[in-house]
Each structure stands twice: as structure tokens, then as C-alpha cells.
Symmetry: C2
Subunit: 77 residues, 2 copies
């Protein structure tokens, strides 16, 4: 099963990389706002059942993939 995990900074956390990208885009005359940059982790998981897979991937996020103090994660199966 293919799994996609999107990890992004919580809304209240400052995103300097996003701000720098926004400034760069605006300097190229692109009219963008609220640029936020996150990680996307894609992998194969040896599970047939979606509920089981979601439980396991949640564990992965909580234990390793996301820093839950400052990041939120979204699991896409």
C-alpha cells in the first residue's frame, strides 16, 4: 500500500523558509500570499487493511516522522 504523509508547521509557528520563498516569488512579480513549506513523505507499507495501516502510520508520525510540538501531519492512503 502506498502511503503519503504531509507534515506542515502548525499555523501559529513562524515559517522563515516560507517567508523567504514568498519574498523571492514576489520579487519575480508573482502575486502570492501565505507561503508555507512542509514535508511530504511517501513510502510503501506492507498492510492490506486501511484501518490497520492508518493506526501504524499514526504511530510512525507520533514516534518519528513529525515533531508534534510544532508540526501537524496528514495521512493519505
Amino acid at each position: 500500500m502506498k502511503v503519503v504523509v504531509n507534515i506542515k508547521l502548525k499555523d501559529l509557528v513562524l515559517d522563515p523558509a516560507g517567508k523567504a520563498t514568498q519574498d523571492a516569488l514576489c520579487s519575480l512579480d508573482f502575486n502570492v500570499k501565505n507561503v508555507r513549506i512542509g514535508k511530504q513523505i511517501v513510502f510503501d507499507l506492507d498492510k492490506k487493511n486501511e484501518d490497520e495501516a492508518r493506526k501504524e502510520v499514526t504511530k510512525m508520525c507520533e514516534e518519528l516522522l513529525a515533531n508534534t510540538v510544532i508540526e501537524d501531519y496528514e495521512i493519505v492512503l
Copy 2:
């Protein structure tokens, strides 16, 4: 309009961060394969028309957001 750009390394490009994450997950007894890590850039674009927006975001990717030599990008409107 909210725009999501997913940027990932081309398949033939080695992904050391993905490999390190895979090893870490396996050491925690998670059975995962082919871990690949990419970027997800989210922003607001002042466009009503989807075709226009897609054309502009493609230009952003080609000019700044993606290194098209080693990265592929996907635009989600």
C-alpha cells in the same frame, strides 16, 4: 485560490534523507519500503481562473520552486 505544489526528487535520483528515515523506521519495527521525502509548498494565489493559475504556478516552479534537473513537481489547485 489555495495552491499546493508537491516537489519530489526524480525517481532515479538517490534520496539519502529518505533512506535514513527508512532505516530509522525499520529500527522501530515498522515494515516500510521506498521511503522518499519531498517538499510541499502551500500558498494563496490571487487568480479566479484555474487555467491561468496553473500556467502561473508552472512558471513559478520552472523559475524558482523546483530544480527541474533533479526534481519533479505536481500542482494541485
